[in-house]
């Protein structure tokens, strides 16, 4: 659903850390959910990819938590009542785009889109922040997100684009057609 782009008003370093933590935590939740879906549907290769992505995002979330010290990141993020530019937290993968036969390449395309959204998000904070410390920290997040984008590109070399779409299901659910 289209929404007018808006960037959360970030006035302090704790705001930024809370927002960054929320982004990573949401991504962990989403990747873990996708991994569970793939496990349920016996797509073990993809389950592993999503678990690895969840683990990577979790490490990043913990780094932010460590940086934040005693700040209540969850409470702060809730108080900000964030309105994301695309209705969802930038790194959240679109669950509606999932399919039980999708390949790692398809999964990484979703991940790449999320990392690029996060990169654009933090770049916009750098461009608009008034506080020097916020700008500096946001610039660090930009670097990290750029690393993540490059990491996904590297992974994509391991999983080249399959010919066509995902493979046909020998026992399709649309059996009655």
């Amino acid at each position: 659903m289209s929404k007018a782009p808006s960037i959360p008003a970030i006035f302090s370093l704790s705001d930024l850390l809370a927002i960054a933590y929320r982004i990573e935590a949401d991504a962990v939740e989403r990747y873990a959910l996708l991994a569970d879906q793939m496990e349920t549907h016996n797509n073990s290769e993809l389950m592993k990819v999503f678990r690895d992505l969840a683990r990577a995002e979790g490490i990043h979330a913990e780094e932010i938590r460590r940086l934040a010290g005693d700040i209540d990141l969850t409470g702060r993020a809730n108080a900000l009542r964030t309105s994301w530019p695309d209705a969802e937290s930038p790194e959240e993968v679109d669950l509606g785009a999932a399919h039980y036969l999708m390949t790692p390449w398809h999964a990484l395309q979703l991940s790449l889109a999320g990392e690029k959204r996060a990169l654009a998000f933090f770049t916009s904070i750098v461009d608009t922040a008034k506080d020097a410390k916020v700008k500096e920290m946001a610039a660090e997040f930009v670097e990290e997100e750029a690393e993540h984008v490059n990491l996904v590109y590297k992974l994509l070399r391991k999983y080249p684009k399959p010919a066509g779409s995902w493979p046909p299901d020998g026992d399709p659910p649309l059996a009655q057609d």
Binding site: M1, S2, T40, T74, W84, G96, M102, D177
Partner: protein, 278 residues
């Protein structure tokens, strides 16, 4: 919502059970589950004071996936169960989950009278315009030209119009949400649970397996162009003339919720048994 006890600093994960959903990947109901847990966290609901009631169907699996009290009932009877529960335990927050088949066909009559009674509960119908669990039969909200082997040439029947019917029957809060926008769905659910009386939220939730065309819904949704009204006639006119993809709160009524006088005029059980003695 009744004056229930709430907790602060709850996380959505606190309301998620350990059971892994078995919906198809891509199903909109995953997003609805996220919205449920986020709304419960935002409201700080106490799990022991919260109940999710459902009927039968893909969407009705949701009580198993939430960590609070749950009742996975029989087909179409979720509102009847929830009504009994809320009347006898008005202190609980009751959220009812259903689908378009369970809620509008098998449970259609309960829907009308739950709206009419205006008991303080929230009814969430995940509408994918198809019976997904039983492999793709047309439901009451399916388009007349939905052409499959099960309905060759389509049913030719006009779809049921749940939001207008809810208004006409007396629902006190009417909203339409889209599962693909879980943040807004969360916000609508929070408002619906807070609003006194019977709150009805239709969540358009794609079935990507039997209605792959519904993946396109995310490009068709748009916010309702005007704010919610408290005039049911105005709301009905707006809903009848919209394109079916207006998202937001469409009606906020002021009807006083029904409250049973539980405990008053109690008849002694032994006396009652005498009346039914054969």
């Amino acid at each position: 919502m009744s004056s229930v006890e709430t907790r602060s600093a709850c996380k959505p994960g606190d309301y998620k059970s350990d059971i892994k959903p078995i919906w198809c990947p891509g199903c909109g109901d995953y997003h609805v589950l996220l919205s449920f847990t986020r709304a419960f966290a935002e409201l700080g609901l106490v799990p022991e004071e919260t109940v999710v009631v459902s009927g039968i169907g893909c969407s009705s699996r949701i009580p198993a996936y939430t960590k609070c009290y749950g009742f996975h009932g029989v087909h179409g009877r979720s509102l009847a169960l929830a009504t009994g529960l809320k009347v006898s335990r008005p202190d609980l927050t009751v959220v009812v989950a259903s689908g378009d088949g369970d809620g509008y066909s098998i449970g259609g009559n309960h829907f009308l009278h739950a709206c009419r009674r205006n008991i303080d509960m929230t009814y969430v119908v995940m509408d994918n315009r198809v019976y997904g669990m039983t492999k793709g039969q047309p439901s009451p909200t399916t388009e007349p030209d939905f052409d499959t082997a099960l309905s060759p040439g389509g049913t030719g029947l006009s779809p049921f119009h749940p939001l207008v019917i809810a208004l006409a029957a007396g629902a006190n809060f009417v909203a339409r949400a889209f599962s693909g926008d879980p943040n807004q769905t969360t916000s609508i659910l929070v408002d619906a649970i807070r609003h006194p009386g019977f709150s009805f939220v239709e969540v358009l939730s794609p079935c990507v397996t039997f209605r792959p065309d519904e993946r396109e819904w995310k490009t068709q949704m748009h916010p309702a162009p005007v704010a919610a009204t408290s005039d049911p006639g105005k709301a009905a006119r707006r809903i009848m003339t919209d394109d079916g993809f207006n998202i937001g709160i469409l009606y906020r009524g002021n009807r006083r919720p029904y409250q049973a006088k539980v405990g008053s005029n109690c008849i002694d059980l032994a006396e009652l048994e005498k009346d039914f003695a054969l």
